[in-house]
Every structure is written in C-alpha cells, then in structure tokens.
C-alpha cells in the first residue's frame, strides 16, 4: 500500500505518480490525498497571500514549515479532480478507482482545522461537522472542496 499526501500539488507534473504506481503489487492499494483546484475562495486566498504582512507570514511559518524564511510559499499547481482520474485511468498498469471523496467544504473545515492550531479553543465550539461533511457528498457542491482522497487498487 502506498499513501501520497499533500505532495502532488507542489509538482509541475503528475509523472512521478506513475513511478509510485509501478511499485504497487497486484491488489496493492494507493491512497492519494491531495489539494485540488477549483475552489474560488481558495483561489482568492492564494492570490491574496503575497499581500499579507510579513510578520503574519512568519507567524504562519511557525506552524507551517513549508513557508520559507522570506514568507514565500512553494510553487503550487492545483490539479482538477478530473486530471487525477484521467491520469489513473490512462495508466498502462491496470488500475481500479475504489473510492473518491472530497474534503474541506467551502474551506470552512480546513480553515477551522488550521485556526484551531493557533486558537485551540475553537475546537471546543460545537459545529455540526458531520452535517457539513455530508454536504460535500452532494455533487452540486463539489466545487467547494479543497482536497480529494482517491483510493486506487492495482488489478
């Protein structure tokens, strides 16, 4: 079993993924959990990130070590869910997509999770998390997800 988490969106191409797929045994599982593009709020935040004060970036850096000492984020290429699916289905090794799930509904869950690192009391607030998660399953609201989990099995 291989797990790739929060990595692919930092790559300019998905080709390294095929190397990992090549390592899978027959009936081996691959779990991809990564960021996706398409959420407009996320797009706006990414655009606005360079405009936030340097001191705040340094504060974020204490929690998120992928921010460099100048406050820059590493290059990000958000792939659309379709790009992942297409890559997997077109792979020369025979693969089956077992499950696809979307996360981070409207960024709220992601933001809450992130904020709770700085303000632990936030996690004490009663939020109908499961109701929000269930909303993610609705196809019409999928654009609001910020990450995707795909479980793939090698035939």
């Amino acid at each position: 079993m291989a797990i790739i988490r929060n990595l692919l969106h930092h790559l300019s191409t998905l080709k390294p993924l095929s190397n990992i797929i090549g390592l899978l045994n027959s009936n081996g599982l691959l779990l991809i959990d990564d960021k996706i593009s398409g959420n407009p709020l996320q797009g706006i935040l990414t655009l606005a990130y360079p405009l936030i004060p340097y001191n705040f970036k340094m504060l974020l850096r204490e929690k998120a070590d992928h921010i460099d000492r100048y406050g820059h984020l590493p290059p990000i290429t958000g792939y659309r869910p379709k790009a992942y699916v297409k890559f997997i289905t077109q792979n020369p090794n025979k693969l089956t997509i077992v499950e696809v799930r979307y996360h981070g509904f409207f960024l709220i869950l992601g933001a809450l999770e992130y904020l709770s690192r700085f303000f632990p009391r936030i996690s004490n607030i009663r939020i109908p998390i499961y109701k929000l998660y269930s909303l993610e399953r609705r196809k019409i609201l999928r654009w609001s997800a910020i990450s995707i989990t795909i479980v793939v099995e090698r035939v």
Binding site: L47, P50, L51, P53, Y54, Y70, G71
Partner: protein
C-alpha cells in the same frame, strides 16, 4: 452670553455645512495619514539608508548653524545649514517641549504623509476649475489618496529618505500656488506665499539636486502657460510673477545658498569621491537606476525591487508584484492616467499633466532610451545631479498620475451618473460610485499594499536589518561615561564602513543606517574609513593585520583615545562586504585583547572600549619638530612603525600634500628627528565649531597642529594679522598645521572663514523674512492700528 454662543455655533455649523465636501475629504486624508503611525509597531524608531533621526536633537540642530561639521575629524559641510528649517527646527522644538523620540518621529511621519495628500488635493481642486464643486472635491480626494498610497512611496520615499518626502509632499502645493499666482492679479502677495511654501521644504535641499527638481515642473508649467496664452500682457505678467517669486525665495534662503554655492565644486568632488569609494561612477549609477518603460509606466521598474543581499530581498514584499493579480492591477495606472487624454484632449490641464507624465517617463527610462541616454551623457552635470532617475523623476510621474487618475475617475463617475438620470439620487450615486470605489480599492488598496501592511518599513530578515529599531540602553550608559571625561578626543569604531553606515544586530531587530550614536556620544566618532584622507581606514586595516602598535600611533595622530569594538555588529552582513573593513568577531577580539598598545578600558553591553595607550590630548597641540617625508600616506605607516616615534612630539608632513612654495618656505627636517625639547606651552578654548582661541607661551618658533581635517578655509591670526597661506599645510596626513614664527606670550585665533558667508546670508534671509511678513500682514496691521486709534479717541 448664551445668545452669543448660540449664534457662534450656528454660524460655525453653517460654515461646516457649506464646506462639508471639503471637510469630509480632508478628514478622509487625515485618517489615512494615521496609517503612518502603524508603521512604527509601538515605540520603535525608523531609520533608513540616508536618514536617521539624531538622538540628540538640540545638539544636532545647533550644529547646523556652522559650516564646519565637527563630527568625526571635521569637514566643511555647508549643506547641513539647509537641514535647519523646518525638520531640524522641529526636532529641536520637540526636545525642548519634552516629546519622546518616538512621538517626534511619529508626528513627522504623520505630518509629511498627510501633507502629501492634502497638497495634492489642493493642486487638483485648484486646477479643475470647470467642474461642479462636488466633482472637484471628489477628484481632489482621489488624487490626494493616490498620491499618498502608491508603489513609488513604498519603494523610494519611505524606506530610503524621509527628508526627500518633504519635497514629495510639498511639490503639488508649490505648483498649485505657482499656477494660482500666474493667474492672480495680486502678483507680489502670491509670489511671497509661493516662496514661503517652497521654503517649507528647505530641509530637503541638503541634497542640492532637489532644487532644480523642484523648479523644473514650475518652469514647464510656465512655458505651457505662455504657449496657451500667447499675449504680450500674459508674458509680461508671468515674467513679473516668476521673477518676484524667485527673488523672494532666493533672498529667504541665502543663509544656505551662499555657503552651498561657495563650496559647490568641493561638494561635487566629495560626492564623486564617495561614489568612487564604493566603485560606482555617475553614469553607472544612472544605468542602474533607470527603469524600463514597462516597469516605469506602472510606477515599478526600480532595480532594488528584484534585488537583495546575500539571498535576502531588499523589499520583502516586491515578489508580490510579479503575481497575476498585481500585474493586472498595475496596468490600471497607465490606463486610467491616459484615458483623460482620449476623452478630454482639449482640457489644458489634462494636456499639461499628460505631457508631464510622458516627459517624466522619458527621464525615468534614463539610459534605456536613446534620447534619455543622450540627455544623461551630453548635458553637463545632468548625470551628477540626477544619478538616480527612478528616484528623482518618479516623483513627477506620480504627481502627474495622481492628477490624471483623479480626473479620469471623476469623469467616469460623472458620465455614469448622467446616464442614470431616471434613477433616484441615492441609487444613482451608489451605482455610479461602485466602479469608482472598486477601481480606487484596486489602485490604492491592493496595489499599494505594503503601505497598508506596514512592510514598507523593512522588517528584519536573517541578513538585512529592520528599518525599525530600539537602541539598547547600554549606548546611553556608554554616552554618560564618555561625558565624564573632560578631555577632547575621538573614538574609532570597529568594524568600520566606507561611508559611515552601521549594521547592528539588536534585540527586537537591529539597525541599518548612518552610525546611530553619532549625535548621542559627547565625543566625535569616526565611523567612516575615508575620514582623514583615508587614514581611519588605514589604521583599521593595520589593526586587522595585527600591527596594533603602528595603528595606535596613527590613531593618536588622529586624537583617537578609544577604539570602540561593536560586538553587536550584524556580522552576517559585514562579512566579505567590500564597503567594510572587517574581519571575524573572534579575530577582532583576539587581536585587541593581545595588543600592548590597546587595552580594554570599559565594557557596556556589547560595546567594548579599548584605550589607545599612545594617546595624548592632541586636538590642538604644538610640536617643535617636523618630519618631512617624501611620498604619500604609506610613509605615514613607515614612520608609525618606528619604535622611536612618539606621536605628540612632532608633526609629520608628506611631500605630496605640499606645494612647491611650501616645500621651499617651511623649515622641515628631511631626516627623522625626535625628542627635541619643546619650549612651547599652549592652552586652547573652543568658542564654537568654527572658532578656537589658542593661548601661546613660546620661546622658539613652533608648529601648531589643529587635529581636524585640513581645509584652506581655516585661517590662523595673531592679533588680527593672518598667518600667510604658505605656512598653512596638511599635517599628519590630514590635519591643519601652521608654522608659527613668533615667540613670547600671545593668542592665536583659528577661524573657519567661510562661516562668515553663513552670517551674511542669514542676515539677508532674516531681513527678507521680516519685510515679507510685514508686507503680507500690512492690511491686518493697518486694521489693528485703526482700531487702536479709534479706541483711544473714544476713551478720550
């Protein structure tokens, strides 16, 4: 009484209501001005490359009245007189009334930042005459806000030179009053007002290149005005107003103009040598500071934006300008600025500012374009005066953009409003105002984001220090300790930079700027290696080479009692920097601690004071023997290396620093002679930095040495009789030396004669100020006099 109060309140309310648009606009600009206070992050002070607030404000203010800058080894510095008013006068006033340094600097920043918006508001509302009052005010407000919040301010004005912000802030006001004066009948009054306003920016003329920079837009408008109104009467009246304005301004400013003019060639030579010392020529500086057209039209293109030092960017926010959002927003500026040219091409002010913007672009573009290249290479002194095209002419472009963008957005608002006639007033205004608010948000909110986030004042990174600083208390303790020593001496700072800058690492940041304790320490600090014809650098290099005995003797010749080792130096910055004479801190400490000629006297926090064991009080001293050495400063090192050389016994004279007449006239020893009996005793008194009296009791002719940098402006007189010029020479490689061929008891006066130019200029300036004030207030004075006469008649 209550009726009177009610009546007053009514009339006051009526006044407010009548001018509500103006008041709202001014309040908005005033509120935006408060943004500057947030840049301080509490009680920090802000320093920059060329500007740092003097920590002893009153002392530095008083020093501005003298053409001889007694800091370091002294130098003729007529330019500092210009600093006196208004900035240094404000500093002195703030100290007198007990304002803290932080509050003083905050008020300065708030004042200058807000004045820039207000003066642009005034210019726009003055020039847009053919529009309804509300639209005029709206255009003024937009112009004012844009002029305050734009990348040019973020790139150049704030982080680099706060004093140059003065001219940035006042230029629109000067131009507005000049324009008003051209159209007014009361020429004399407006000429005086315009001269007064321009005088408010005097501190910036410490860099004289700002003077032509201030006058150029006025000249351009004058030419434009004559071209638009080509009649004899207009020509005559414009000429009359301009002449009156110039005469008044020149007369008001003669106190610094005369000394500046007198020293102009020396100052130019000093600037050239400062450029050369860091390996830069004027033309290479122009090439570096020219901005490509595509950058310049978006108020970007400054080299420093994409540059840094040892991996740290100079402007940590600059990379954001390469993101798609800001690239799109950046093109809004030229788009909005040149739209008025398409929709109102016949408006004369649109035409003027559009032409002004194009000329500014050409000048900012510098050597990138053939015309610019021709201007900078062929026009004499153009590259010397304006070696930083983006820096100098970006101000013009921002001014032109501010007017044109204000005009464009107002026009847009007006056109949308007209097209929505059928809607109700509120809805109409909301719909037509929405695009204006969005556009304004993009160009002043998003595009000028470093001013909003406070990153415009550079936060400290690993290598580069923050522009915010809090001086550690041990500096004050060291200053108090130095103050207890009554003798006159100098302090050499280690490591030492070429241009007198300091890079220090302190808790909560650090410091980057001119040496910070320059005005704080009661003794002169030598922080530049070029001081004393470069002897300071030679001594520092000798210490690094572990030749501390020779170094100490040379330092004694420079009247250096202490070598101050700055442990708090930002070593990462200084290491391998060609503008610094330095080695590792461990190496420094090892050399200094093992030296027999330098001994650790006192430690204050991270300041280590090493006493020079060869030091004797040598600010003014007499020597019975002279050593004439054939050659240059290298000879000084050779003499200092001799074990039998005692610095205070003799004066060293280098042949290449004398003229032929002096070599033949002065009685010099061409072989090394020491330990001759000195039968001269002297005492001296400093009257002011430009005048000393020396009481002499001597039974033989002797050499008098005044250990401040040689300048032929220094004159020695005995009972009013000047010592001939051939007897005044460069002593010890840098100082003033005189051969005194007189015995007995008498007094010698040492005087820096160009100071008299300041006195003469100041007399004319003060007289002009009185005459102008009387002229402007003559009607009020008449009224007061008439009221007084009436009162007397009634009482009689």
């Amino acid at each position: 009484m209550s009726i009177e109060i009610t009546a007053f309140l009514k009339s006051f309310w009526g006044y407010l209501y009548l001018h509500k648009c103006t008041i709202i606009a001014l309040l908005i600009i005033g509120l935006i001005g408060l943004l500057s206070v947030s840049w301080f992050h509490g009680d920090y002070l802000i320093s920059a490359v060329d500007f740092s607030m003097p920590l002893n404000r009153l002392r530095s203010f008083m020093a501005n009245f003298y053409g001889w800058d007694s800091r370091s080894l002294g130098s003729a510095n007529p330019r500092i007189s210009a600093l006196t008013f208004p900035v240094w006068a404000y500093f002195a006033f703030s100290e007198i009334i007990g304002l803290s340094l932080s509050i003083t600097e905050k008020i300065l920043f708030y004042g200058v930042f807000t004045i820039s918006g207000l003066s642009m508001y005034y210019l726009t509302t003055t020039l847009i005459s053919n529009r309804p009052v509300k639209l005029k005010r709206l255009a003024g407000l937009i112009s004012g806000i844009f002029y305050m919040l734009n990348p040019y301010v973020a790139i150049i004005i704030l982080p680099l030179r706060t004093t140059s912000f003065m001219i940035y802030a006042l230029l629109p006001l000067i131009l507005a009053i000049f324009v008003k004066g051209l159209n007014e009948k009361r020429k004399v009054k407006f000429a005086i007002i315009a001269a007064f306003v321009m005088t408010l920016a005097t501190s910036v003329y410490v860099d004289p290149s700002y003077l032509p920079l201030t006058l150029l837009p006025l000249l351009m408008y004058l030419i434009f005005y004559i071209l638009v109104n080509p009649t004899k009467t207009t020509l005559f009246s414009a000429f009359k107003f301009t002449t009156l304005f110039l005469i008044t301004w020149v007369s008001l400013n003669l106190y610094w103009l005369i000394p500046d003019a007198y020293f102009s060639s020396t100052v130019l030579a000093n600037v050239t040598s400062a450029y050369n010392s860091v390996g830069v020529s004027f033309l290479s500086a122009v090439q570096l500071n020219s901005a490509p057209l595509l950058g310049a039209i978006r108020l970007l293109g400054y080299w420093g934006l994409n540059s840094g030092y040892k991996g740290d960017a100079y402007s940590i926010w600059a990379t954001a300008y390469q993101t798609p959002l800001l690239i799109i927003v950046s093109f809004l500026l030229p788009f909005l600025a040149f739209i008025p040219l398409l929709i109102k091409p016949k408006d004369k002010h649109v035409l003027f500012f559009a032409s002004f913007a194009i000329i500014s672009l050409l000048l900012i573009n510098g050597t990138y374009s053939p015309i610019g290249n021709w201007i900078y290479t062929r026009i004499p002194l153009f590259s010397a005066f304006f070696s930083t095209p983006y820096f100098r002419f970006g101000m013009y472009l921002t001014l032109a953009y501010a007017f044109l963008i204000g005009y464009a957005l107002t026009e847009l608002f007006s056109r949308i409003t007209c097209s929505l006639n059928r809607l109700r007033r509120l809805a109409r205004h909301m719909i037509s105002g929405a695009p204006i608010v969005v556009l304004l948000f993009l160009i002043v909110g998003v595009y000028a984001f470093p001013l909003w986030t406070g990153d415009v004042i550079r936060p400290g990174t690993q290598v580069l220090q923050s522009n915010r600083y809090q001086m550690p208390p041990y500096y004050q303790t060291a200053s108090n300790w130095l103050g207890t020593d009554p003798s006159d001496f100098n302090i050499l700072v280690l490591p030492i930079s070429t241009l007198g800058y300091a890079e220090l690492k302190w808790a909560n940041g650090g410091y980057d700027g001119p040496y910070p304790a320059d005005w704080l320490f009661p003794k002169a600090v030598i922080a530049s290696s070029t001081v004393g014809n470069g002897i300071a650098g030679i001594a520092a290099q000798l210490i690094i080479n572990n030749q501390t005995t020779a170094a100490s003797k040379i330092l004694a010749l420079m009247n250096v009692k202490y070598v101050l080792f700055q442990e708090d130096t930002n070593w990462l910055y200084v290491e391998n920097n060609t503008s610094w004479i330095s080695t590792s801190p461990e190496q420094f400490q090892s050399i200094l601690n093992s030296s027999s000629s330098l001994s650790l006297e006192k430690e204050f926090g991270k300041l280590d004071f090493y006493k020079n064991n060869y030091w004797q009080p040598m600010e003014v001293y007499s020597a019975s023997t002279s050593i004439l050495s054939d050659g240059n400063l290298d000879q000084l090192i050779q003499i200092a290396e001799r074990s039998d050389f005692t610095p205070s016994d003799s004066v060293i004279v280098l042949s290449n620093q004398l003229n032929a007449q002096q070599i033949s006239t002065l009685p010099m020893n061409t072989v090394f002679v020491q330990n001759q009996t000195n039968n001269t005793s002297i005492t001296y008194k400093e009257i002011n930095p430009t005048q000393y009296t020396v009481h002499v009791n001597s039974s033989q002719p002797f050499y008098l040495v005044f250990s401040e940098s040689y300048d032929n402006g220094w004159v020695a007189t005995i009972n009013g009789q000047q010592i001939p010029d051939q007897y005044h020479f460069t002593a010890n490689g840098y100082a003033n030396g005189w051969y005194i061929n007189k015995t007995g008891t008498y007094t010698i006066t040492l005087e820096f004669t160009p100071q008299n130019l300041f006195y003469a200029g100041a007399t004319i300036s003060i007289t002009t100020l009185i005459i102008c004030t009387v002229y402007i207030s003559r009607n009020k004075m008449k009224n007061i006099y008439q009221k007084y006469v009436k009162k007397n008649k009634v009482s009689n």
